[in-house]
Amino acid sequence: MSWTDIAALEDIPVRGARIVKTHAGCIAVFRTDADEVFATSDRCPHKGGPLSEGIVHGKSVTCPLHNWVFSLETGEAQGADEGQIATYPARVENGRVLMDLSEINKVAA
């Protein structure tokens, strides 16, 4: 894996998200209550809602448009809804958020 420095952990609000623009579209980088970070596609498979604007609870996010809930770990829609968002490797080291962009660059290439 090759890790790329994205931002400082502080740049992302607790129980919130910021987006990273890539050639493969916007990636949402979430920060949970427990300071874990998760990176997923920012696009809700339902009608394209921006997931980075959703309410983050536990290790899940609720889409702001019609309340589908996704697991940040697996990207799977929870409950009765069916759908999957892409997830990407991300971690925190020394207060910096790192992401592995190799998969994304492959998509873009």
Binding site: I6, A7, D11, I12, P13, V14, R15, G16, R18, I19, V20, K21, T22, H23, C26, V29, D33, H46, K47, G48, G49, P50, E53, G54, I55, V56, H57, G58, S60, T62, P64, L65, H66, N67, W68, V69, A80, D81, E82, G83, L101, A108
Partner: protein
């Protein structure tokens, strides 16, 4: 010697019959076949499973352990294919052959599928069993479903699916919904309630053909040429008794399998019960009579005397928010007389049909509390001449009793029926309580009351409360969400009484089941905390819906709309110029005058929000909160400044009100209007607070709305001065802020607590009014500020842009 009983069908009827048999300690060796791959469950409750209010596990009536305990040999997922009555043997599709001494048919009925073209396409289903229910539940939100049939089943299916965000259309051939149970006015109210749930209802619609594509349903074609696209088509047009097996083995069969009063078929060793039978020319479609049959079957098998007697049945619809009740005959006729009561404001309709001084039918919508009382008198043939004048108001108005529902329940005679499904009377419940059943679960276990369709649960609880007094605690209403069992009301009370001042304190002290709530409870808790502890608690943007976090309305394409405040609807050429400049500079896609007397700039990109706010701030404008559960607008008319009829300065008062209230957070949105005279050009009579100026002062009315419900305001008080109008308004908003459930608009909350209670606090008790207004002012000292100015600060503005941009980097 132990005898051998074989039962075909593990449905609601046979389940009950077996219970009675085992309870009586009868010595039978039972083999049970069921075509469905599971045992007995409460079929009625499929609708709450569909809508998500219950799970399948909760509706199982007999589990593995029960069958084992009673030594029942179960063959689930197995269909009986042949009965050899000469050899007394049944054969099933798993190859088994079982001998019987007595055989019980309980095969239920088959849903009727109209044999129109396309009925055999994939995606055309009925609504009968768990498979059908799961099929509907698995439809993704946003998909389209057409339901043919506007009866009980069709509507429960439609409402259940609508609760999952599915786009449902109900196609009904008759002029109004549930025509067998409802008259036209009640059908109309029901239709309106379903449309409010987002369901499209088409009455007088004739289905012609189901259109498909690659063998799968695509649309329903009506005979007027309309095509209704759908991904699934549910046919709920009726049922037919399942008689094939009975006919094949030579039993006497008409519409159903013929049975006598002892539930014996034309073969003395074969009994039948449930929806598959025909008794004295009648067939059955609701459980109440089937339970009576089950008692008779058990007695007959034990060699005891018993006879089945059909009885009047009543119907309720299990759709949350649609309260209806119907019983008996309500067709119009010259020999009968109608008593009708309507309350349009509450959406209540009641009609009682009388013939020869006796009730022969009753229909009610919106308020069904008295249903069982009417139904009881109908069954008993009570002479109602003495109470004709007050009859329609229900039992509480008879004999001078009070209107308290508890008193009404207390006044019910012991033989008043409480549970229609199981035919349980008040007396039986009281006996069960005296024998030790002190809660709902206990009553269900010992009497079965409220254990079938569940609509009488409230009544059973009232009987418990009346009988046990303080020993019975009425269970609280619905919980906030799956994260807690507490209701909104409980949570609000506990936040105040236990002085919980942070989200963590709430999660911890109130035993939340999740780490930090979910998208349903967190915004509510965040609101309760900031409303109750304005100084101590700090608002948490991450617990707010996107609009309130970004202080703009998100659009379906991810852009935002920006609405600056125009105090009381007044603007200036300078402001208009600044708005025009901002619209150009930030490429607003549309500039629109809103229904709230101001201007909406639509299609602004997220990263441009801080910029446009900064520019508008420079021109002296602040956020209009067009997105918030908070103060929206104060509409005004031109008033005394210009209008020849104006009595007071309505524009001036509107501006003062908006300046006092802006920025405040409330349980739901709050809209005001001030009109200069009773001509009411500012439409003040459909606002959360509306003020009409008159010569002698200001008439303040509250609890109006003109959204999903149109509701006229109710008069609160008349005050002589502007200062008092302001104080009264602030006090009303504050009492609403302190008490209402999150997402209850003021009119919904007032309906719950009663306007009289509100009046006592803000009109009659001047000290209380003042204290409320002061608490409002304290809160406003923190929240009366422009969120845009704050967010347009460079440091915070950064947060509206991507945190990193690799599209640029790669280009380099």
């Amino acid at each position: 010697m132990t005898q051998k009983l074989v039962v075909i069908g593990a449905g609601m009827a046979s389940g009950r019959a077996l219970e009675h048999l085992f309870e009586a300690g009868a010595d039978w060796d039972v083999t049970l076949f069921n075509a469905e791959p599971r045992g007995n469950y409460n079929r009625l409750m499929l609708s709450p499973v569909l809508s998500g209010e219950k799970t399948y596990e909760e509706i199982v009536t007999h589990d593995e352990a029960w069958y084992q305990q009673h030594g029942v040999d179960t063959h689930f997922g197995t269909r009986v294919t042949e009965v050899d009555r000469d050899a007394k043997i049944v054969r099933a599709d798993d190859g088994s052959e079982v001998h019987y001494d007595k055989l019980l048919f309980a095969t239920g009925s088959n849903p009727f599928i109209i044999p129109m073209p396309g009925h055999d396409l994939e995606g055309v289903i009925a609504y009968r069993d768990l498979e059908d229910t799961e099929r509907m539940m698995n439809m993704p939100a946003g998909s389209k479903v057409v339901v043919i049939g506007g009866g009980l089943l069709g509507l429960e299916a439609a409402a259940g699916m609508a609760a999952h965000g599915i786009d449902v259309t109900v196609v009904h051939i008759m002029g109004h919904l549930m025509e067998r149970q409802l008259d036209e006015p009640a059908g109309y109210l029901l239709r309106r309630a379903l449309m409010d749930k987002g369901i499209t209802v088409k009455c007088k619609a004739n289905s012609k053909e189901i259109l498909g594509e690659d063998g799968k349903v695509r649309a329903l074609l009506l005979d007027d040429g309309t095509e209704l696209p759908c991904d699934l088509l549910v046919m709920a047009v009726g049922i037919r008794p399942n008689t094939k097996l009975g006919a094949d083995c030579g039993l006497a069969v008409g519409r159903g399998i013929h049975v006598d009063d002892q539930m014996i078929t034309s073969d003395p060793d074969v009994l039948a019960l449930g929806e598959c039978v025909e008794h004295n020319g009648a067939v059955f479609g609701l459980v109440a009579p089937l339970y009576d049959q089950a008692k008779v079957v058990a007695k007959t098998l034990m060699g005891e005397e018993a006879a089945f007697q059909p009885r009047e049945i009543s119907t309720k619809l299990k759709v949350t928010g649609c309260d209806l009740f119907s019983a008996g005959d309500f067709a119009e006729g010259t020999d009968r007389e109608d008593i009708v009561f309507r309350d349009p404001a509450r959406g209540v309709y009641k009609r009682v049909v009388i013939k020869d001084n006796k009730i022969i039918g009753a229909v009610m919508y919106g308020d069904t509390a008295d249903g069982n009382w009417f139904y009881g008198m109908m069954k008993d043939g009570t002479d109602i001449s003495d109470m004709r004048e007050t009859l329609i108001f229900g039992p509480a108005y008879q004999g001078g009793a009070s209107v308290d529902p508890m008193a009404a329940v207390a006044a019910l005679p012991a033989d008043a029926e409480i549970c229609g499904c199981n035919g349980i009377c008040k007396g039986q419940i009281v006996d069960a309580i005296n024998a030790g059943a002190h809660d709902l679960a206990g009553i269900r276990a010992t009497t079965k009351a409220s254990a079938s369709c569940g609509t009488c649960t409230g009544l059973v609880e009232q009987v418990l409360a009346v009988t046990l007094g303080d020993d019975f605690v009425m269970p609280s209403v619905q919980s906030v969400c799956g994260c807690t069992d507490l209701s909104h009301e409980d949570v609000r009370r506990l936040i105040k009484s236990q002085e919980l001042k942070s989200q963590q304190a709430v999660w911890q002290e109130l035993g939340w089941k999740t780490v930090n709530g979910c998208h349903v409870c967190r915004p509510a808790i965040n609101y309760y905390l900031l409303a109750d502890w304005p100084v101590e608690y700090q608002d948490d943007p991450q617990s707010r819906f996107v609009n309130e976090r970004n202080h703009a309305n998100i659009q379906k394409d991810g852009t935002y709309s920006v609405v600056p405040r125009m105090w009381g609807g007044i603007t200036t050429p300078d402001e208009l110029r600044a708005i025009a400049d901002a619209a150009e500079k930030y490429n607003a896609k549309t500039v629109k005058v809103t229904g709230g007397q101001r201007i909406d700039l639509l299609g602004i990109k997220k990263e441009d929000l801080p910029g446009i706010w900064y520019d508008l701030n420079q021109a002296g404008m602040v956020s209009g909160h067009a997105y918030s559960k908070g103060l929206r607008t104060v509409k005004t008319c031109v008033g005394t400044d210009h209008c020849r009829f104006g009595t007071q300065d309505s524009t001036g008062l509107g501006i003062k009100l908006e300046k006092a209230l802006w920025g405040s957070w409330t349980p739901h949105k709050v809209k005001l209007a001030v009109s200069g005279c009773p001509r009411n050009c500012a439409e003040a009579t459909c606002k959360d607070v509306g003020i009409i100026c008159v010569d002698s002062g200001y008439e303040v009315s509250v609890a109006g709305a003109a959204g999903m419900d149109v509701k006229e305001t109710e008069f609160l008080a008349k005050v002589p001065t502007e200062e008092e109008a302001l104080e009264l308004t602030c006090a009303f908003i504050q009492i609403y802020r302190e008490n209402a459930k999150y997402l209850d608009r003021a009119y919904k909350w007032v309906a719950k607590v009663g306007l009289d209670w509100v009046k006592e606090q803000v009109v009659d008790d001047l000290a209380s009014r003042k204290a409320l207004a002061e608490r409002f002012e304290l809160s406003q000292s923190i929240y009366r500020k422009d969120p845009w100015a704050d967010l347009a600060e460079p440091q915070k503005a950064e947060r509206f842009a991507p945190v990193a941009d690799f599209t640029l980097e790669a280009a380099e």
